[in-house]
Amino acid sequence: MTLGLGREALDALRRDRTAVVCLVVLGLLVLATLAGPALLDYREDEIDWSHMAAAPFEAPGHWLGTDRLGRDLLVRTLHGLRISLAIALAATLVSLVIGVAWGALAGFRRGRTDAWMMRFVDVLYSLPQVFFVIILTVVFGRGSFTILVAIGAFGWLTMARIVRGQALALREREFIDAAIVGGAGTARILARHVVPNLLGPVIVYATLTLPQVILVESFLSFLGIGIQEPLASLGNLVADGAAELETAPWMLAVPAACLMLVVFCFNFLGDSLRDALDPRDR
């Protein structure tokens, strides 16, 4: 993509009020996860013995209440958001880079190259992910790195398939032939003529990947092979909160609201970004 297109896309994005609001909200959330825990009075694994399962604003200093062990919910949620966001962004990036490159090359080359590349994807698809993650935890131990590898290794497969389908369709368009006759090599055609034209579906799918990754992480954490206590992730906070739904509903409400906010923002942002990148919609 050329710089000019990038600048125009940015302009279009700036004019889009929804996109600006989402960007601001996401920016504030990121800032809060980075600066918040340091500014607040409690650490994420610090137990306040005198205020266990306190409701929001019930105990001094615990604005959003505490969990069953008396840990401050706001601090834990911010910590959880930080880890979840980091994993989600990293996994989405992996999916974007590997998935798009893999799918675009397979779809463009067609024939035998395509067949081999996509069979490789099929093989990875058919591996049970949870089983793979368990093996990884044996090798690397539990923790965010293992989660990242586990999600990254599988996250790009669907992206590769989507992109490959799009690239196959694009391959039949005349501008690809025109570029070939113009003397362009495979790399240049992919970068200049194929990938820019499939950014729409790629971005939409990437914004779907982000929340999905957060959910997969929470699922793995729920199984006990994800982010481990006392570290918090949105996933294990929601899992904890769900268990206390009847006695302390805020334990679910706070991380769940945070998760929803993030997912909404990314979805809206993705939608606006797709429009901004398409010159016909500007």
């Binding site: 050329t2 000019g4 297109l5 067609r110 024939g111 368009r173 005349e174 501008f175 032939d177 025109a178 570029a179 070939i180 006759v181 113009g182 003397g183 362009a184 240049r188 200049r192 003529h193 820019p196 034209n197 950014l199 990148l277 398409d278 010159p279 016909r280």
Partner: protein, 323 residues
């Protein structure tokens, strides 16, 4: 005369799912600066001929025979045609808008080709592209550079597509029905433009069309294709004045003219071309031919040379020209 492009026994098959032969043993030669038009109905294989020469056949297409461009063989394993693209052979496609990448500015696309094919620095490529847009007579080259394809009209897009095909300054230009998507007034302009560009750049032209009116103005020689084979080839003036093959004569008779419209009767060639993949023992045109005889059904005519022209017919129209 050493040929710029020399096609020998070119055959194009598609495996879909049974073998379909789109081009069947075509011989053609084109000298430097020469302009040859291939005329035929849709489905006669003329487009596939061009695609085979540039290595752009669909994945299930197989080309056999020989295509030499400046002595270099373009058919072969891998991407043998790659060296001929860019500075060698340019291609103007039928659907003008389709050969421009929708998400990028016209200027960026032109500059990219000029830089890659001719090794120009960006500044010079930019000036060159601007000049090229002026050469294809786009009214406002400066603003066209910054336009996206969808912002241009069909005629302007076709001009931009021609500029794109010429950005590498090819020595031979393939034009695949470059005007069939345009309305009649724009068609004439684009044809005049191609004519001028070929002359100015010293470019040879291989034009594919079904419009004989277009051909008369532009090409020095005509090859008529029917069902994958060349049935007649000759100098434009002579072929249009004295067609030897009944099919050529039929094509000429079916060209629309005002007098024909006043007669209230449109001339057509009865019947339809053989379906792709059909095996035919005799002449392919025999079922539709007004001059068919028994021999036509059993024996396929070969393309025989006579003077400057060639014709594939047992009983050609003009006896004086027949071999």
């Amino acid at each position: 005369m050493s040929a710029l492009l020399e096609i020998r026994a070119l055959t194009v098959d598609f495996l879909a799912p049974r073998v379909v032969r789109a081009v069947d043993g075509v011989d053609l030669a084109l000298g430097p600066r020469e302009r040859l038009a291939i005329v035929g109905e849709s489905g006669s294989g003329k487009t596939q001929l061009l695609l085979a020469c540039t290595g752009l056949l669909a994945a299930n297409g197989r080309a056999t025979g020989s295509v030499r461009f400046e002595g270099r063989e373009l058919l072969g394993p891998g991407d043998a045609a790659a060296p001929a693209r860019g500075r060698g052979i340019g291609f103007v496609f039928q659907d003008a808008g389709g050969s421009l990448t929708p998400h990028r500015r016209i200027g960026d696309q032109l500059i990219e080709v000029a830089m890659a094919a001719r090794g120009m620095p960006k500044r010079q490529a930019c000036d060159e592209s601007l000049a090229m847009l002026g050469r294809v007579r786009l009214p406002d080259p400066g603003s066209t550079m910054n336009a996206y394809p969808h912002e241009l009209s069909g005629g302007m897009r076709q001009r931009a597509a021609i500029a794109l095909a010429l950005a590498a300054r090819p020595r031979l230009l393939f034009a695949d029905e470059p005007t069939s998507a345009l309305d009649v007034t724009v068609q004439a302009e684009v044809m005049a433009l191609l004519d001028a560009l070929c002359r100015d750049f010293g470019m040879a032209l291989l034009l594919v069309t079904h419009d004989l009116g277009v051909v008369a103005a532009l090409a020095g020689r005509i090859a008529v294709m029917y069902a994958g084979r060349i049935v007649e080839e000759g100098d434009t003036d002579e072929l249009l004045a004295n067609p030897a093959h009944p099919y050529t004569a039929g094509l000429l008779a079916s060209v629309l003219s005002l007098s024909a419209l006043e007669d209230g009767e449109l001339a057509t060639i009865p019947g339809a071309p053989p379906r792709a993949g059909e095996t035919i023992q005799g002449c392919r045109f025999e079922p539709r031919c007004p001059r068919r005889r028994e021999r036509c059904r059993v024996e396929g005519p070969r393309l025989e040379a006579g003077g400057t022209s060639r014709v594939a017919c047992h009983y050609p129209l003009d006896a004086g020209r027949s071999p």
